[in-house]
Structures are given as structure tokens and as C-alpha cells.
């Protein structure tokens, strides 16, 4: 708005002195330089995959800023770094060792520098044989560490790049041994973890070369970061699908003890990595599961669930618990016996997870509960009378689909008694009547409408229970009120024969010609 003095149009004259503009430009330039430095610093932080050791000199900008041509530049620098390494390895004169370490460090920094580490350039220039040479026995720790670190970064690359590490694997495994210094062993474990994470083929190679026992032994001492790294590498190594490695691991002397010991520690990051090991052990190996359920592990898992708020930790812990419950009937029949303190503890932590904001926790907790609810009558009664039911009922109507499905399993299981053989399951009328009365039917009818076959089946099965089992023959009316007939009629000509028969059978049986005549 023309603020008071209505200044008429006035533009800068074409003929002006340089002073003002120049000062302005210089100041802008100074500000821009600051911005560029921020950018290069953040980029460096993003891209560098810092090794496990606490090396203080994380390569940040200093003199070499990362610019637009960074990629190309980096490749060139990397090739020449490998060349230098080549001559350093060949050189035998005075200061040879220092020279090798320096060139290795330079290469390692280059490989840590960008989000796209110049792995390809390093491989092309022939880095692997040189690095293998640097790993030879009797080399100084510093050299071993830098070489293993380079390999770690290379292993973090694309699949075929990871495979290039093959010739280095025996030496990396060898340096895991007790004679190596901790930083070296840890760095080697890190590299091997990256390799194992790549896929089944490389896992098998590592297992056949004997990577598992030394890694397992690294879990035994009380050295936080070493254990963490080893646990992480192990969880990659035993991922399967072959359960052999998991079985082998649990058989290693002291491993079970170590797992229990570390799970007791306050360190949540450590517990997280160890819990992932338990996840894979319990998911893959029945033998391992058998060993685990007989230990204190269940108790420890429950305690961690009760006390931690770290999602990172809660996820593997909850999943381990679920695996142990689902995979081994022993868990339910003899450990989680209603009336035992631990059983109440389990229900309590599961309730806590159901209340959490995190979908993953809610889903996994429902899954665990559905397994427990599949147990004995006493188990069902225990859950039925716990705080879980109102939460489950709410989730059934409000949660995302995948959670609703798990919740439906729990609620469904609560309503049927354990059966010996085939045929229609026996009802627990009290549970069914009360749950239906508290409004769970519409949730199940919703599942009937779902495109997910499994969920639809679950919905239909529950509908059948209602039709058959709600006292006073109120079932059909209730189902009709919830638009259940419409929902079932979708299946009239459905391609899935099983569902079609089930739905049509129910409609015919309960809503046939005679239906409604009584009224």
C-alpha cells in the first residue's frame, strides 16, 4: 500500500558504481559458503557407514567438499587410492607398514564417503586381492582393522559386489578368533554380517567355512559393542530358511547362558540385537525352541516387555514370545499354565502392547493372544476375564484390516472349546453370548465381506457359531440385523467353492423358506 509518501516509479540506473553491489554479493557469497558446508557435512553424515569401532576421525569435509561431480571424482580418487595401495603392498622399504595403513585408511574413507560408495570403482581397480593380502596373519592390528573396514563397506554394496568378498571370507573368519584384538574381531564380524545379510547362498558359504562357532563365542563375554555386533551378524547368519544353523547355534556351549545374561542387562540396544537372535532361533528351529522354553527366557522376555518403551526392542521381544508360544505346545501346556505368575505376566504385557500406539505391537500381540486362546478352556477363561477383551472388541471395529484379522482369531478362539477330531467345534456358549452382546458380530460380518479368503472364512465360521449357538435361537435375527444375509449372499456364485458352500449352506439352513414365518 502506498505508505504515505507515494514514491513514483524509480528504477536503478544502468550506470552505477560497483561498491554496493559488490559488498552485497560478497556477503551473499559468504552466506552461500556456509550453506554449502552444511550441505556437504550432512551429506557426509548420511553417506558414511561408520564402522563399529569408535574411530574418532570420521571423515567429514575438511578440505574436500562433495560437489556435483562427486560421483565421478570419487570414482577417480578411489581408483587411484587402490593403485596407491597396490604400490604400498609391494613396497618393502622403510615405513612400509605405515604406508600401507595410510593408503588403506584413505581408501576406507573414500568408501565411507557417499551414499553410493565407490565400490564398483574399487572392485574394478582390483581392491579385493590387495585387501586380502592386507588381512594376512601377523599383520599389525591397525592394518587389519582398516582392511576389514574397507571390506565391510564393500560388503554393504550391491549383491554382486558383496559376492566379490568371497576370497576374503576365510581370513575374515580367521580373525574372529580369540587371538585377535577386539576391534579387529568386531570389524570382521561386521563385514561378515553384511555378507550374511545378502542371501541364502552366501550364508551357506559362511556356514560351511565355519563362521558360526567363532561368532557365537563372541557373544559370550560381557563386552557390549562386541556382543552387539556378533549378535547382529549371527541373526543374519541363521536367517535360514534351513534351520540347521539355528540349531547349531543353540548347541554351542554357553550361548544359551549368554543370551539370558544379555537379556537381563539394562543396555537396550544390546538386548535388541540379542532378541533378534532369539526371534530367528525360535522361528526356525524346533530344537532351539525346545531348549529356549525350558530356560528362563520366557520370563525375561515378559520382563522386558513390561519395562521397556523402545519400539526397536519391543518388536523382536514380542515376536520371540509369539514364536515360543506358537511353535511349542509345551510352552502353553506346561509353562503358561493359568494360575502361574508368569501367565498373568504374559497377559499383562500383551494388554500393554494392545494399548500401544504402534500398529506392529498391536498386531503381534493379537497374534500371540490368538495362540494362547487356542489353548485349554482355562486359557480361554483367563483371557476372557482379562482386560484384553474390551481392547480387542474395540480393535475389531476400529483397527486396520490386518490387526482386525488377528483380533478376530483371538475372539473366535475364545468362543470354541478345544476339539479332538474334525467336525464342528463345540461352543463355549457363555463367551459367545457375551461377546456378541458386546457388539463383536458386526466386526466379523465385515470380515465376511473381505476379499481376503482367510479372513472371510473366519467371518463365516463365526457367523455359523452365532447362528447355531446364541441362546434362545436369537442367532438368525442378530445376523440379519447386521446385514449378515447380504454379506453371505456375495458368495452365491463365488469362485471359491469352499466359501461358496459354506455361505450358501448357512443361508439355506437358517434363512430358508421358513425363515420369518414365526413372526
Amino acid at each position: 500500500m502506498a505508505d504515505d509518501s507515494s514514491t513514483s516509479h524509480r528504477r536503478d540506473p544502468i550506470k552505477s558504481s560497483v561498491g554496493n553491489v559488490a559488498a552485497q554479493r560478497r556477503r551473499q557469497n559468504a552466506v552461500t559458503v556456509g550453506k554449502e558446508r552444511r550441505e556437504s557435512l550432512v551429506r557426509a553424515k548420511r553417506l558414511c557407514r561408520v564402522g563399529a569401532t569408535g574411530d574418532g576421525d570420521v571423515p567429514v569435509e575438511e578440505n574436500d567438499m562433495i560437489t556435483d561431480e562427486a560421483g565421478f571424482l570419487l570414482d577417480t580418487q578411489t581408483s587411484s587410492a587402490v593403485e596407491e595401495l597396490k604400490s604400498a603392498v609391494a613396497y618393502q622399504g622403510k615405513g612400509a607398514m605405515q604406508k600401507r595403513v595410510n593408503t588403506l585408511r584413505q581408501l576406507r574413507r573414500l568408501l565411507s564417503k557417499s551414499e553410493f560408495p565407490p565400490v564398483e570403482a574399487a572392485l574394478k581397480a582390483g581392491a579385493i586381492p590387495l585387501l586380502v593380502q592386507c588381512l594376512s596373519f601377523g599383520s599389525p592390528d591397525e592394518q587389519l582393522l582398516e582392511a576389514a573396514w574397507c571390506l565391510t563397506n564393500i560388503a554393504a554394496g550391491k549383491p554382486e559386489e558383496t559376492k566379490a568378498l568371497m576370497p576374503a571370507l576365510p581370513l575374515l573368519i580367521a580373525h574372529l578368533g580369540e587371538k585377535s584384538s577386539l576391534p579387529v574381531a568386531e570389524q570382521c564380524a561386521w563385514a561378515l554380517g553384511n555378507v550374511a545379510g545378502e542371501g541364502e547362498e552366501l550364508r551357506n558359504v559362511l556356514l560351511s567355512q565355519g563362521a558360526l562357532p567363532p561368532l557365537a563365542r563372541m557373544m559370550l563375554p560381557n563386552k557390549g559393542s562386541t556382543v552387539r555386533t556378533a549378535a547382529w551378524a549371527l541373526s543374519n547368519l541363521i536367517k535360514g530358511p534351513d534351520p540347521k544353523a539355528a540349531t547349531e547355534l543353540i548347541k554351542v556351549d554357553g550361548v544359551l547362558d549368554a543370551i539370558l545374561r544379555h537379556l537381563r542387562k539394562v543396555d537396550e540396544e544390546l538386548a535388541t540385537e540379542v532378541a533378534w537372535v532369539v526371534v530367528y532361533l525360535s522361528a526356525l528351529s524346533n530344537f532351539a525352541t525346545g531348549v529356549l522354553v525350558k530356560s528362563d527366557v520366557l520370563q525375561l522376555l515378559v520382563e522386558r516387555l513390561a519395562t521397556s518403551n523402545s519400539l526397536q526392542l519391543l518388536i523382536p521381544v514380542l515376536r520371540s514370545l509369539g514364536n515360543l508360544v506358537a511353535a511349542d505346545s509345551h510352552t502353553i501346556s506346561t509353562v503358561l499354565v493359568p494360575g502361574h505368575e508368569i501367565t498373568d505376566g504374559v497377559i499383562k504385557v500383551l494388554v500393554k502392547c494392545l494399548k500401544s500406539d504402534h500398529r506392529v505391537l498391536k498386531k503381534e500381540a493379537s497374534w500371540v493372544l490368538s495362540n494362547i486362546a487356542a489353548g485349554s478352556i482355562e486359557h480361554k477363561q483367563l483371557i476372557y476375564s482379562s482386560e484384553a477383551v474390551p481392547l480387542l472388541l474395540r480393535l475389531l471395529s476400529t483397527a486396520p484390516f490386518d490387526i482386525r484379522k488377528e483380533v478376530a482369531y483371538v475372539l473366535g478362539n475364545l468362543c470354541v472349546a478345544p476339539t479332538a477330531g474334525e467336525g464342528k467345534p463345540n461352543l463355549i456358549e457363555e463367551h459367545l453370548a457375551s461377546l456378541v452382546q458386546r457388539g463383536c458380530l458386526s466386526g466379523f460380518i465385515d470380515l465376511v465381506r473381505s476379499a481376503d479368503i482367510e479372513a472371510a472364512r473366519l467371518g463365516l465360521q463365526f457367523t455359523e457359531l452365532v447362528l447355531r449357538g446364541v441362546p434362545n435361537g436369537d442367532g438368525p435375527k442378530l445376523v440379519e440385523q447386521e446385514d449378515g444375509i447380504d454379506a453371505m449372499e456375495i458368495y452365491q456364485f463365488h469362485e471359491n467353492e469352499d466359501l461358496r458352500n459354506m455361505a450358501n449352506g448357512l443361508v439355506d439352513k437358517y434363512f430358508g423358506e421358513d425363515y420369518g414365518i414365526d413372526e
Partner: protein, 872 residues
């Protein structure tokens, strides 16, 4: 009931600081205790003709400032505050304001018009003041109303139109408003005061008249009235009418075709024979046409030939008549125009317009101008020689290098000789023309220059001789050296060409800076800025020892400034200016020498002494110095790295001062930047100072006083701090994150029609992302869970930004990067959130397709990070 506040308003303007402060406190208390009553009392004061002009003036200003502010956030607060006031009080205030339009005191009428427009800007779009337009129009239609009321009413209408959009009213009202304004310009019905007010109102209402300009009949009518008014007998009214034409040229370029014949005649007559104020507007009309056509040409892309608005080629069509007209103006120099940068006259405006025409039509201008140059440049009358040179200098940007370089090559020797012309103006313009030649036709870095290595010596000889000429000439010579040196920046082997002359150039520039005949500091600052450019662009490998020698010289000079006797505030200002220039030179030297490993030790050795000097400069406490010393300290912190820690205890107080300097917001802004430099230099050693810094930064952000341009960098600065101190940032999270979320929400609501706001919004978005990136990266390895509760909001914000069509590339980069940081730092914590957000695939896809390598790279990294999370 309104309160009597005249005494306070008068006392608040007292010369006695004590009285003033007390009155201001009283007013503030009243305002805080009862805002509605306070505003009502102000409006009563303003409307009362029996009150002193001074108290009414202040009442008006306070009232206006209670309704509008430059800062968007503050403005929004004021709007909310006004809307919260009881309707009956608001309507009383409005009545008083409308009544004031009829006051016998012109100033009260004027202020009231402004305040009404501010209220209108709030209420009319919300349909809360429907009767305003009617009552204003009523003032105009009644014959018996005094001219002063009509004049004030027209002014109000103009301001209101400027504040609101025509869509806020029904078209009938829009039409009625414009009819009232245009009729006010009618010669037969109104005296000159009303017609002047109407013409000015039309100027303000031009954008508002959009619909009417789309209608040919209405447009014809408006244009006819404006053109008629441009020939009024009163010079002020003619000027106002031409101002309208200038604004129409910018706003309605695409419909001007039918009127161009008439407009050319009108402007041509005005340029040739009207008063200077009118003639200047007539030239401005053509400059504005050039602006429009240059913009059209810049946006014209070969692929989308027909999508943009039409280019009418007005300049090209008028070229043969327009150029002689403009060349004529060049001969109307004033005797001493070169002594004063602020002068704006016909010849300046004409040359400036000529330069724009050259940029518009390119090569076509050359044959029309060169005959004028050639015939005038040898004439005995200095005006002819100066005009010829000016014409030549003006057309150097626009035509092709092929067209220009033979002419320049042929004329260069002539120009070098003309530096010995007997006339000061001619030398001034010649030196300026040389600087234009070096700026535009000397680019060794791109293998092109009108200066061959052979004649560089000759060129420098002339420049270093002429720099001793009169101050105005010397200043232009500095410009020539500036651009000459700039051409050699990053010029590979060519950058060595200047190295042999460097010592001599530097000593000449220092001698020039030391001259005392310059009158003001202009020559000195031009000399120092040129020195800076020479240092900055020099080939460091060859010149490092020279620059190393320059360092103590400049430090010494800076030291001497502390000894200047300060008697008056003028002395203080002089000292401050000089220190500013010298700190500027130090900043450039530090930056240059710390850029290579070989030369960095030079800075490190001198760092203690340099820092001592800067601290002394701060001790002198002049804000301009503050700013330059701050900048230089940023450079020093970068050079010294963690060594800078030892200076922090002494320096911290000045850092605090800088962060609190709301009035001189540039100082505050630069200080914020320096905080970033220091964080990068000190890393976690900055921790002991963080509480203090964070407190001030948060205050800065919350301040409505502080210029908004400083606020986005503050967010980036949070990122810098978090990156430096990592997990220790946790305690600031509860304060900082809500601010970031709030700012993100403001971004979402921001005006998208205002280009400046769009730019600001983009800057703000980028900086918020930078803050998140820094914080996420800072927490990544140690405490990522701290950020989990904020992830959803951030993700939503990224999504919103990804859907914004006006986001610029820097925002895109920052958004992609922060998404990667989020995945990198929080890992599986955000897996579900990511699963539920469908947008990122498409967004990443867009980025991966970009031509910008860096963006592609970042997007690739982010994709990797997200994939890692999804498979966990």
C-alpha cells in the same frame, strides 16, 4: 466508553526521554488491559477536529499498526485480535473513521483513509463490512458534499481496492467503485484536487479492475479517460496519469495493442517537451514494456510455443522511432550528475531504458545506435562525447557477442585513450563502459575475451593510471578492475595472466582506499570491494605469498582504526564504515587462504591476532562493523576448526548481542549463520554455549519484531546445532519441535498468489527440512526414539510439500533428503507409517527422473533407506 488519551499520545512524542518512556508504558498498559477500548479511544482521538494534530497523527499510526504488520505471523495475530473484538465496538470505531474522512484536517483524512483500508482488508473478504462501499459511494454521488470529503473518499477507495480482491465484492459493486473513481477524473465535474485524488485512486485500483479491463468497452473507456488525463493542464495530474499508464503497461500488457499508437504519441510528446517528472514517467512506460517483453522471452521455451501469453513485440515495432527518442534524452545531462549516485534524470532514465531495449531486441539495436555513437564521439561538445559513450555502454548487454565483439575490439583503444579526455563526465562514462565491456565480453574461463594476453598490459596500465583521477572516475575504474579480475576466476591457465600484475593492482587499490579527497566513503568501499574480488579470483598457487603479505597490512589498518579519535557520532560512523570494509577484506583473505592445505597455516598462525582485532572491533560497538566482523569470524571459525574453542569465552557475548539485534535484522541473520559455522567448527565442544544460543534463537523465532527473513535460517541453525551435539539436543526437542511443526503448518496455509510469499514459503520449507535432517542425523546413532513421536507429522508435511506444484528444486532436494534421514534414523519405527503413506513412491519416482544429478543421487539413497526399513 472511550478514554481520554490525548495527553499520553502527546507525551509519547516528547523530546524528554523520561516523559516519553512513561507515556509509552501507559499506552501499552492500556492496550494490554483493554484492547477494544484502546482502539476505540484511538479512533475517537483521530476523529476529533478539536484535538492537536500531533496526538491525532500518533493515534492514527498506532491504530494502523494494530491492524497490519509486515510479518505474516504477526499480521495474522492482529487480524485475529481485531476479529475477536465485540461487533458494537468495531462498528463505533468504523463510524468514527468514516466520519474523519470529512475532517477539515488533511492529515487526519489521509490517515483515516489508510486505516479504513486496513479494516476493509480484514472484513470485506469475510463479508463483515457490507455497508462500507455503499457509504463511500454515497460521499461521491451527493453533489453538495465538500471537495475535501470527495478527495478523501477517493483516496480511501483507492486504498481499499489495493487491499482487497475484486472477487471479494459482487461485480456491481466493483463497477460502481470504478465508475466513481473514473468519474472523479472527469474535467467537467471536478476541481483539480478531486481529479488528482481520483487519478491516484485509479492507480491503486488497477489490479482490482481486472474484470473491467477484460471487457473491451470498459477498457476503451478507462484508457480514454487516462489518456485524456495525461494531457491535463496540471502537471501533478499529468504525472499521476502517466504513473497509471506505467502500471497498466505491466498489468495489462497483453491488451495494449489497440492503444499503442496513441500511447506512443503521448509518451513521445512527454519525453520531448513535458516537465521532467512527467517525462521520466513516459520513459518508464517504455522501460516497463521492456520488462514485460524480457520476461516473456525468458519464459518462452521452444517446446511450448503457444501456451504462454502473447508477445506483441511492441519494442521491435516501435524501435525505429523509439531509439532516436531515447538517444535524444542522453544529451540532456546535468552538469554534476556524476558526483551523486542518487541522481535520477532524463538522460539516466533514457540510458537505462536504452539498455533494456537492447536486452529486448538484441542485435537489431546495434545499427540504430552506432551511427549516433560514431558521429558524436568525436564532437567538441562534451555532452555529445559523453552521450555517445553512454549509448555504447548501454547496449552491451543483449546483442550477440558476434555482433558486439568486432565493434568493441575496434573501439577499445579509442576508449582507453578517452580515459585522458579533458572532461570529467566523459572519463566517468568511459570507465563505466570499460567495466561493462569486461563484465559482459571478457570471460577467459569460457575461452572468450575481447582482451588478448598481449593488450592486458596496456589495459591495466590505463586503469591503474586513471584510478588516480577524480574520485568519481576512480570509482568507475574500480568497477572496471573488478570485472576484469572476475573474468579470470577459475579460468584455468588464463587465470595466471593477471598474477604478474597482482602486487601492483593491490597497492594501487590500497592507495585508492586511502585517498582522502573522496568526500564520502564510496570510493573507499569500491576500492576495498575491488581488492576483495581481485584476491578472491586470483590464482592461489601463484599468488599465495602476495596475499599472505596483504594480511598483516590489512590487520594493521584495522588496528589503526581503534586509535581514531571519536568526538562526534559522525566520527563513530566513519570508524564503523572503515572497520566494515577492512573486516570484509579479512573475511575474503581468510576464506581464500584457508581453501588450500598449503596456505591454511598462514591463517592459523595469525588466528589469535585476527580474533583479538575482531573482538576489539566489537568493543567499538557499531552495528555495521558488527555485521562484517561477524561474517569474517564465520570464515575464521571454519579455518580454525575446533581450535576456535579458545575464543568462545570472549566472543560469546557478541554472539549473544548479534542474536538479539532485532532492529538490524541483517546482523541477526548473519549471526545465525555464524552459529552454524561455529557448530561445524567446534562440534560437540559447542555444548557449553548451547543453552544460551538456543534460548536466544527460540526468542528470535517467537519475536514479531524480527524481520521474517531471519526466521528460516534459524531452523537450519537448529539442524546445525543438533548435528554438532547429537543426543544432547534432546532437552531442546520439546521446545524446538512444536515450533517446527507450527511453522510447517504456516507453510501449508500460505498465500500462493504472491510471488514473494511463494519464495519465502519455499525457503521456510527447505529450512524446516534442514532442521529435521540435522536433528534426525544427530540422534541417529544414539537416541533415535526421541524423534518417533514427531515422525508422523513430518511425513505428512513431506507429503503436503510433495504435492505442491510451486515447490522449487531446493525444497524438493531437502524433502527427499529428510525422508531418507527419517528412514535412516528411525528405521523400523516408521515402517508402518511408511506403509500407510502412498505418496512417497511417486515422489521418489519424480526425483529419480530429475536431470539434477545430486537430486537423483539423494533420491536413490532415500529409496535405499526406505527399502531397508521395509524389509526389516
Amino acid at each position: 466508553m472511550a478514554m481520554e488519551i490525548t495527553q499520553f499520545l502527546l507525551a509519547a512524542q516528547s523530546a524528554d526521554a523520561k516523559v516519553r518512556t512513561e507515556a509509552e508504558t501507559n499506552l501499552r498498559q492500556f492496550q494490554e488491559q483493554n484492547m477494544p477500548l484502546f482502539l476505540l479511544s484511538l479512533s475517537v482521538e483521530l476523529s476529533n477536529d478539536e484535538k492537536p494534530v500531533e496526538s491525532r497523527r500518533l493515534a492514527g499510526i498506532v491504530l494502523k499498526n494494530s491492524l497490519d504488520a509486515k510479518d505474516a505471523i504477526r499480521k495474522e495475530q492482529l487480524v485475529q485480535q481485531w476479529m475477536a473484538i465485540d461487533v458494537s465496538i468495531k462498528s463505533q470505531i468504523k463510524d468514527f473513521l468514516l466520519k474523519t474522512l470529512g475532517s477539515s484536517v488533511p492529515e487526519a483524512r489521509h490517515t483515516s483513509a489508510q486505516v479504513i483500508a486496513k479494516i476493509a482488508s480484514i472484513e470485506i473478504p469475510r463479508k463483515q463490512w457490507p455497508e462500507l462501499i455503499g457509504s463511500l459511494l454515497n460521499n461521491m454521488t451527493q453533489q453538495d458534499k465538500p471537495a475535501s470529503l470527495k478527495q478523501a473518499t477517493l483516496e480511501t477507495l483507492g486504498y481499499v481496492c489495493e487491499e482487497i480482491s475484486h472477487q471479494d465484492l459482487v461485480q456491481d459493486e466493483v463497477n460502481a467503485v470504478l465508475t466513481a473513481v473514473v468519474q472523479g477524473m472527469n474535467l467537467a465535474d471536478h476541481g483539480p484536487e478531486v481529479r488528482l485524488a481520483a487519478t491516484k485512486a485509479l492507480y491503486n485500483a488497477l489490479e482490482f479492475a481486472q474484470t473491467n479491463f477484460e471487457n473491451e468497452m470498459e477498457r476503451n473507456y478507462i484508457m480514454k479517460v487516462v489518456c485524456d488525463t495525461a494531457m491535463s493542464t496540471e502537471v501533478e495530474i499529468r504525472q499521476a496519469a502517466f504513473e497509471c499508464l506505467v502500471a497498466i503497461a505491466s498489468a495489462y500488457y497483453e491488451v495494449l495493442e489497440p492503444y499503442m499508437q496513441t500511447l506512443f504519441q503521448l509518451t513521445s510528446n512527454a519525453v520531448k517537451g513535458d516537465e521532467e517528472t512527467v517525462a521520466l514517467q513516459a520513459i518508464e512506460f517504455w522501460s516497463s514494456i521492456c520488462d514485460e517483453e524480457i520476461e516473456l522471452q525468458e519464459f518462452e521455451s521452444p517446446e511450448s510455443g503457444d501456451s504462454g501469453p502473447p508477445h506483441s513485440c511492441f519494442i521491435e515495432k516501435a524501435l525505429s522511432s523509439l531509439i532516436p527518442l531515447l538517444l535524444e534524452t542522453l544529451l540532456k545531462q546535468e552538469e554534476d550528475q556524476d558526483q551523486d549516485d542518487t541522481i535520477w534524470n532524463i538522460s539516466m532514465a533514457g540510458g537505462t531504458c536504452l539498455g533494456l531495449v537492447a536486452r529486448t531486441v538484441g542485435d537489431a539495436i546495434v545499427p540504430l545506435v552506432m551511427p549516433f555513437v560514431e558521429s558524436n564521439i568525436v564532437k567538441p561538445d562534451w555532452r555529445c562525447r559523453e552521450a555517445a559513450t553512454y549509448a555504447f555502454g548501454s547496449i552491451l548487454e543483449g546483442p550477440s557477442v558476434e555482433k558486439l565483439s568486432p565493434l568493441v575490439q575496434a573501439g577499445l583503444e579509442f576508449l582507453l585513450n578517452a580515459m585522458k579526455d579533458g572532461n570529467n563526465h566523459v572519463k566517468d562514462t568511459t570507465a563505466w563502459t570499460l567495466s561493462r565491456i569486461f563484465e559482459l565480453l571478457h570471460s577467459p574461463a569460457n575461452d572468450f575475451s575481447v582482451i588478448s594476453p598481449e593488450n592486458l598490459k596496456r589495459v591495466l596500465g590505463v586503469l591503474l593510471e586513471s584510478i588516480k583521477d577524480a574520485p568519481n572516475v576512480a570509482e568507475k575504474v574500480c568497477g572496471a578492475i573488478y570485472y576484469l579480475a572476475q573474468g579470470y576466476e577459475d579460468a584455468g591457465p588464463s587465470s595466471s595472466l593477471l598474477s604478474p600484475y597482482l602486487t601492483e593492482i593491490i597497492s594501487c587499490l590500497i592507495a585508492t582506499a586511502d585517498r582522502t579527497d573522496g568526500g564520502d566513503s564510496k570510493l573507499r568501499s569500491s576500492a576495498y570491494e575491488t581488492l576483495n574480488e581481485v584476491v578472491r579470483c586470483s590464482n592461489i598457487a601463484e599468488t599465495s605469498s602476495i596475499i599472505a603479505q596483504l594480511l598483516p597490512v590489512i590487520m594493521n589498518k584495522l588496528g589503526q582504526t581503534m586509535e581514531i579519535q571519536i568526538v562526534s557520532s559522525e566520527d563513530r560512523e566513519k570508524q564503523g564504515d572503515l572497520q566494515a570494509s577492512l573486516c570484509g577484506v579479512l573475511q575474503v583473505i581468510i576464506q581464500k587462504l584457508s581453501s588450500t592445505d598449503e596456505t591454511k597455516p598462514i591463517i592459523l598462525q595469525a588466528a589469535d591476532q585476527i580474533m583479538l582485532l575482531f573482538l576489539k572491533v566489537f568493543g567499538c560497538r557499531s552495528s555495521t562493523v558488527h555485521e562484517e566482523a561477524m561474517l569474517a569470524i564465520g570464515a575464521l571459525a571454519y579455518a580454525t576448526g575446533s581450535q576456535f574453542e579458545k575464543y568462545m569465552p570472549e566472543f560469546f557475548q557478541y554472539l549473544e548481542m548479534g542474536l538479539q539485534n532485532f532492529e538490524e535484522y541483517q546482523v541477526c541473520g548473519i549471526t545465525v549463520g555464524v552459529v552454524g559455522d561455529i557448530c561445524r567448527a567446534l562440534d560437540d565442544k559447542v555444548l557449553p554455549y548451547c543453552d544460551g544460543i538456543m534460548g536466544l534463537l527460540l526468542k528470535d523465532l517467537a519475536s514479531s519484531e524480527l524481520h521474517r527473513s531471519v526466521k528460516p535460517p534459524i531452523f537450519s541453525c537448529f539442524g546445525d546445532i543438533a548435528l554438532a551435539i547429537g543426543e544432547h539436543f534432546e532437552k531442546y526437542v520439546p521446545y524446538v519441535l512444536p515450533m517446527m511443526q507450527g511453522a510447517a503448518e504456516i507453510c501449508a496455509k500460505m498465500e500462493t498468489s504472491d510471488e514473494e510469499m511463494v519464495d519465502y514459503g519455499n525457503q521456510l520449507r527447505r529450512c524446516i527440512f534442514e532442521a529435521y535432517s540435522g536433528i534426525l542425523q544427530g540422534f541417529k546413532t544414539v537416541k533415535p526414539e526421541v524423534m518417533v513421536p514427531y515422525a508422523q507429522h513430518l511425513l505428512k508435511f513431506i507429503e503436503l510439500v510433495s504435492r505442491d506444484s510451486q515447490r522449487d528444486e531446493s525444497v524438493t532436494k531437502a524433502a527427499v533428503a529428510v525422508m531418507g534421514d527419517l528412514a535412516d534414523a528411525l528405521g523400523s519405527n516408521i515402517k508402518l507409517m511408511l506403509k500407510e503413506s502412498a505418496f512417497y513412491d511417486e515422489f521418489l519416482g519424480e526425483c529419480l527422473q530429475s536431470d539434477d544429478e545430486q537430486l537423483k543421487e539423494t533420491a536413490g539413497w532415500t529409496q535405499g533407506m526406505i527399502q531397508r526399513v521395509m524389509v526389516l
